[in-house]
């Protein structure tokens, strides 16, 4: 049977067919849908973890128990999970363990575009990279087999164009006959004290050599000879672009991108007149090919930054005189087109908070989530954003170098899911060392940015079962914060009062704004208000309501000599009343 699957759906399917029993992840674009799909197979125990380190450790535990297990994350998630990963490379596995990492070249929804292939080399573990959905499924299955065959975790690398691209997949059945999980005592292998680890390290190095030799003969790496004037080494989605733009050249498609098949590369290089490496982001393959003493052209012509595309590869090969330059398209319109950046949704509970932060002249150390959009005009209320959880610790650090009168301006802003991901440790530090900053936890009851996933405070698990809820206020108090208060962010006056008081308090304090994301499904979780309208007679055109940048409020310019007015789109308004509270002329009211 054939189906059209996204790369992420196909990876989940591959895990299912491979007999995977346990899957754990923290949501992160473009990896999120892998677990959401794994969860649809009753045979897989799929769950969210509070962060990627925990997710990988859950998978490691299941593997040590003898089951095939998987952890999934976005590229920056591997930074968080790096600690267990590097030691796991030494211990090896029980049941096969696959770490799926989805990179985001071009940073469509990320803070950097690090190339995860470097982690495979750094941690000395093999990495497979599929080039379409069918390969996503097949490589996931093969990754589990390789993991057990070579006693190593296997990384499977995807990227945005693979994870969120769809192509046709031939479905298979779940394998049977895998050994039942059981407890096996093997401390020399699994207790990584120095004495044991010193024994394991040489085995890891030998394993890498054996894996490279395996790569020389494995069907994962595929030589396709066409004309031999030009040979291109490539992997993943880049292979598809090369086939598209340079249909006649010979290719060495690497399905295993670490360790590299040295013999195979040398043979391919010897068969072609000129060798190229076309790879997205870092010269990962290129540097290693060059270290083999093989002449190769790569990043001299291929861009180092951003994702590749057929057009960018065509331009690169045109610059090398190999392909003709691009033909002209009908071309752009000569009209000026205003940009359309993403925005917080109408009714978003974060909007009023950022308006108040702006008015309070706060210096906002920010974090990762929908609320990062608070940096955009007209809110303009975020000053730093580094990584998950950094808002609080960045705030704690910055207050130490400021005079007391400036310290009050520091407000760390973090969402509920991000707080539980890594913000808890940061708040522990802030309380412990008495950093006099204010922390604002925007609790919208869900992990919103990645598409509304449950988290440890939302009350549900990945499969929708009711679950114990972390009490964020109690947690903050338990960490040593004496002043913790909750406000409704739709109540601007109360939120302003809480902010003012806590910003002026010369000790660490936490304000929690509690209000569900307006996109949460289920009426019991988000209550839509009565939509609002602007009384066109009462509106003076002062534009105060526009300062919150709500997509439901539109400025309607008036003809010459008259004042423009604000207008609320009834299809978009959720009735949150934040704009109503800003109108000094009572021009905004309920529509009924």
């Amino acid at each position: 049977m054939k189906e059209i699957l996204s790369g992420n759906e196909a990876i989940a399917r591959g895990a299912f067919e491979a007999g995977c029993r346990v899957a754990s992840a923290y949501p992160g674009t473009p990896s999120t849908e892998i677990l959401e799909n794994a969860c649809t197979y009753p045979e897989i125990d799929a769950s969210w973890a509070p962060n990627e380190k925990v997710a990988l450790e859950v998978a490691i535990g299941a593997s040590f128990g003898g089951a095939r297990s998987m952890a999934c994350m976005k590229h920056v998630g591997v930074n968080v999970a790096a600690d267990p990963l590097f030691t796991l490379s030494y211990t090896g596995v029980g049941g096969g363990l696959v770490l799926v990492v989805a990179d985001d070249p071009e940073m469509h929804s990320s803070q950097d575009e690090q190339d995860s292939r470097n982690y495979a080399r750094f941690a000395k573990v093999p990495m497979l990279e599929p080039a379409d959905s069918m390969e996503c499924k097949e490589y996931t299955r093969m990754a589990f087999e390789l993991s057990e065959q070579f006693d190593t975790p296997v990384m499977l690398r995807s990227c945005t164009r693979i994870s969120h691209g769809k192509s046709i997949v031939e479905m298979g059945e779940r394998i049977t006959g895998l050994p039942e999980p059981k407890l096996v005592k093997n401390p020399a292998k699994l207790v990584m004290l120095p004495g044991n680890a010193r024994v394991r390290h040489p085995l890891v190095e030998e394993r890498t050599v054996r894996l490279s030799e395996y790569g020389d003969v494995s069907q994962l790496n595929r030589v396709e000879y066409r004309q031999k004037r030009i040979g291109v080494i490539c992997c993943g989605v880049t292979y598809q672009y090369v086939r598209e733009v340079l249909p006649d050249v010979s290719t060495l498609k690497l399905g295993m991108v670490y360790p590299l098949p040295k013999q195979l590369i040398a043979e391919f290089a010897a068969q072609v007149e000129r060798l190229f490496v076309v790879e997205e982001l870092d010269p990962f393959i290129e540097d290693q090919v060059r270290a083999l003493g093989i002449a190769v052209t790569g990043k001299e012509i291929i861009p180092l930054c951003g994702e590749l595309s057929p057009g960018r590869i065509r331009t690169a090969f045109a610059s090398a005189g190999i392909t003709p330059p691009k033909t002209a398209s009908p071309g752009a319109t000569n009209l000026a087109l205003p940009p359309r950046p993403p925005n917080m949704c109408p009714g978003c509970p974060h909007r009023g908070v950022f308006y108040l932060l702006n008015r309070a002249n706060a210096y906002v150390t920010g974090d990762i989530g929908c609320y990062t959009l608070g940096f955009m005009p007209p809110l303009n209320a975020m000053d730093t954003c580094v990584c998950m959880g950094a808002s609080i610790s960045n705030g704690s650090g910055i207050v130490r170098v400021l005079p007391p009168e400036e310290q009050r301006r520091i407000v760390a802003v973090i969402g509920d899911s991000t707080f539980l991901h890594t913000g808890v440790n940061s708040l522990m530090e802030m309380a412990w060392n008495r950093s006099p900053a204010t922390v604002l936890i925007l609790d919208n009851r869900i992990t919103a940015m990645t598409g509304r996933q449950e988290n440890p405070a939302s009350g549900f698990t990945l499969d929708g079962e009711a679950a114990p809820q972390v009490s964020i206020p109690d947690l903050c108090r338990a960490l040593g914060i004496r002043h913790v208060r909750e406000v409704d962010p739709y109540d601007l006056e109360a939120t302003k009062r809480a902010l003012d008081e806590e910003m002026n308090r010369p000790e660490p304090s936490v304000v929690i704004t509690t209000r569900a994301c307006c996109l949460i499904k289920g009426e019991d979780r988000f209550e839509k208000g009565t939509m609002l309208r602007v009384d066109q007679d009462a509106c003076t055109g002062c534009k105060a309501c526009l300062r919150i940048g709500c997509p439901a409020i539109e400025w309607q310019p008036a003809p010459e000599g008259k004042k423009g007015k604000a207008f609320i789109d009834p299809l978009l308004c959720t009735g949150c009343t934040v704009c109503l509270q800003l109108c000094k002329f009572n021009a905004i009211g309920r529509a009924v």
Partner: protein
């Protein structure tokens, strides 16, 4: 350039239902026995940002994204976005656009005006340009929310698939209770 491949771009604003429309297209091509690939970006762009989805079909499709300057059909859900992506098309391409405007943030804030003359600009560059009042026709079909399906019907006329395949794809992808209205909406678009 691979002339055996048909390249379709669906463009509009996050939240307009572009993903579902591209799913229906892909499903139809697969049902008709073609190789098909599609690509789009989730995440940030869903928050009301500019969205483009690529769908390609033919005997064997390599790249999941349409090579720049090789788009055959532009399926526009919103006029400003339709205009924005014209440079992705090949000369002689078709444009089927919804006559619908969503103001971007700078227009909402009164800092810019929604550009005038978009329709004329597209018409001056594209000979096969069909402007569709999707909302009006969808209302005739029974629900203004079926506007995308009206557009899909109009796009289907430019694609070499029998009507029966389109209906099977709709049946598979559209929720049962909305199916009748969507079939009507599709037929209205296809009759244009």
């Amino acid at each position: 350039m691979n002339s055996q491949i048909t390249n379709i771009l669906l463009v509009g604003v996050g939240g307009q239902g572009i993903l579902l429309a591209s799913e229906i297209l892909s499903e139809a091509f697969m049902l008709a026995g073609h190789d098909v690939k599609k690509s789009e970006i989730h995440g940030m762009s869903q928050r009301g940002g500019s969205v483009v989805s690529h769908v390609r079909f033919g005997s064997q499709v390599f790249s999941p994204v349409v090579p720049e300057g090789e788009g055959d059909i532009l399926f526009g859900f919103e006029l400003l976005e339709t205009c924005r992506y014209l440079p992705l098309l090949r000369p002689g391409a078709s444009v089927i656009a919804n006559d619908f405007r969503i103001p971007p943030p700078s227009v909402l804030l009164g800092q810019a005006l929604y550009p005038e003359g978009l329709v004329e600009s597209i018409r001056s560059q594209v000979s096969d340009f069909l402007l569709v009042d999707g909302l009006k026709l969808a209302s005739e079909a029974g629900n203004p929310r079926a506007a995308n399906t009206v557009l899909l019907g109009a796009v289907s006329n430019r694609l070499p698939l029998p009507e029966e395949i389109w209906l099977r794809a709709l049946e598979k992808m559209v929720p049962k209770k909305a199916l009748d209205i969507n079939i009507k909406a599709f037929a209205l678009g296809r009759s244009l």
